[in-house]
Symmetry: C2
Subunit: 323 residues, 2 copies
DNA sequence: CAGACGCGTGAACATCTGATCAAAATTCGA
DNA sequence: TCGAATTTTGATCAGATGTTCACGCGTCTG
């Protein structure tokens, strides 16, 4: 008995080619290579994940042109980018990341510095970025790393992912997101390395950050606070945060202990960045988004259809005024 | 009653994005855009066809490494490229085109001139070529155009497709494939434009052509001949043709009326091209291929698995010697 | 103006693909 | 060396995709 092939590790590129270039079915590839059909399915999935298979859509069509321009009229925005809405949180995040990736890409030119905030939505972006070689991009984190709980991307890792994806240089902010107390925060801020990176961040060309709400789980920052802290912040009128800085219904900073413990640019400093991209979606972000938009905390919006529609409704009937 | 969207032409890029970047299903896109699911399926197919959607496999894995090197040992070849085999002729052609496209691409460097022969297999290539900008490529047809019967790609159109695909320049051979008679052929050959293009062709760096058999329908050339002509050629020992030039079992040219009527390089002239890629597959091409390989009419082979295996068997037991 | 042809459309079906789950294999630790 | 946890594997099934067919509309022709 002789076998035509010993059972070695299956060559990923070969399988991808047979499928995508030669149009074999999973089953046919399985038979050809002596694998099970499911194995082939998995290898193909891996090939896509790893990037051996790359699917590009050559088009700059925006998905929801109507909504985007409507938002542009209703709020003081440079641009709005709207993506499809999903029930499933996972899909929603993935999709929003794709839109946001297109959005940032549109702002990249030679030598651009991008400051990235800590946010689940922002973390979804790098996977969708296409390499933009030769642009000499710099990626700077806006805040320190959030330790503990989830190993959710720290701004540092986030900056690294961004940089890897677009072939840019990543900077590091060697500090925690929140210091132990106000005094410790002051010490951190005096650190030269921290200062240098923060200066670089506030003088960035483009800023991209999530918008957090004040619901219990609306944003990475909020999730790291105790119920008491959160209650305090809400009592002071906070409706949301951007890059860890809470703001009230007038778009003004909300002072307090948390604010003092945070290491990162102030709301005013953030405003100094010319292009401020806010990425968020979902019912619990709606209020915060409306305020951030109206008061120009962000001037480029990335969201999904249903949030966009809700925001348009808010623009007509501001605040919580029932019809 | 108001509709959210009037029924206008559906934007292709948008649909492609929703599917490939945002992961919606056909059905979801249909609902979103007010189309039927099938319509979406078709639009996506079109998007792929047109090239709005581009799927790239980043890998230089060869598919059948073992066979390819075995062929390289069994015959005097520079390279062999083997693709999967199919029952269905259509799929086979498509697949072979993909392999051949990879193969030619491997030989393209700055300033390369590629001469293309008339052949169904060669016609399947352009669709799989990736743009290779900045290489300053020239594409030259090897023969004149075959009028009448099928509007199958003339070498001229073929050269144009190639050139368009790789961003090169196409040349034109203003002549028919076969002249009315030997004398008419001579007149054509004296035409300065014809001479110039032919000279360019025979001094090409790379040649890519199909290998025709002498079965009734084995190749575009053969299909254009009358039964009587074909019989005559076979009687003189022809086993196949490359770019319209028939050769016998010793790889020598087969003279005769058809040969005199043909406008294009002779077998000897073809041999002057350093890289001679032959593309063919199928039982009725097997004999011709074996001869073309053994006698160096081509030195790079593109074929499918089953043909490759047959050729290896032929190499062991040459000619029609039964075991 | 009637008929015929061609194109575009959607319904039904067949196939392909991807997800879930349980069994098997493997690795790691004791 | 054994057992337990983790990973890998393949069977089954639900859902997604693509193909085929028949219909209807518009257009061209006689």
């Amino acid at each position: 008995m002789e076998r035509t092939n010993g059972q070695k590790q299956p060559p990923l590129g070969k399988i991808a080619r047979l499928y995508y270039e030669h149009g074999l079915t999973h089953q046919e590839i399985a038979d050809l290579c002596g694998l099970s059909r499911i194995k082939v399915t998995r290898l193909l999935a891996e090939a896509r994940l790893v990037g051996i298979v790359e699917i590009t859509v050559h088009s700059d069509d925006h998905l929801f042109v109507g909504l985007e321009s409507a938002l542009g009229h209703a709020y003081p925005l440079r641009q709005a980018w709207v993506g499809p809405a999903f029930e499933d949180e996972g899909r929603a995040l993935h999709s929003l990341g794709a839109v946001a990736a297109d959005c940032v890409t549109a702002f990249l030119t030679k030598g651009t510095t991008v400051a990235v905030g800590l946010s689940g939505s922002v973390a979804a972006i790098p996977g969708h970025l296409r390499e933009a070689t030769g642009l000499d991009l710099s990626i700077v984190p806006l805040t320190g790393s959030k330790g503990g709980v989830s190993r959710a991307a720290s701004p540092h890792e986030l900056a690294l992912s961004f940089a890897a994806a677009v072939d840019g240089r990543a900077y590091h902010l060697p500090a925690p997101l929140l210091a132990r107390n106000a005094q410790a925060a002051r010490v951190w801020r005096e650190d030269p390395a921290v200062q240098e990176t923060l200066e670089r961040a506030v003088s960035a060309d483009v800023l991209i950050a999530g918008i957090g709400g004040t619901a219990a789980d609306a944003g990475l920052l909020v999730q790291g606070l105790s119920a008491a802290e959160l209650a305090g912040i809400r009592k002071r009128g906070a409706v949301g945060d951007i890059s860890g800085r809470f703001f009230d219904a007038d778009g003004a900073a909300v002072p307090g202990e948390v604010d003092e413990r945070l290491i990162g640019p102030s709301l005013e400093q953030l405003r100094a960045v010319p292009v401020r991209i806010g990425v968020a979606r979902g019912a619990d972000k709606r209020r915060a988004l409306a305020v951030a938009l109206r008061h120009g905390l962000i001037n480029v919006l990335v969201t999904d259809v249903s949030t966009a529609e809700a925001l348009l409704a808010d623009a007509d009937a501001p605040e919580g005024a029932p019809s």
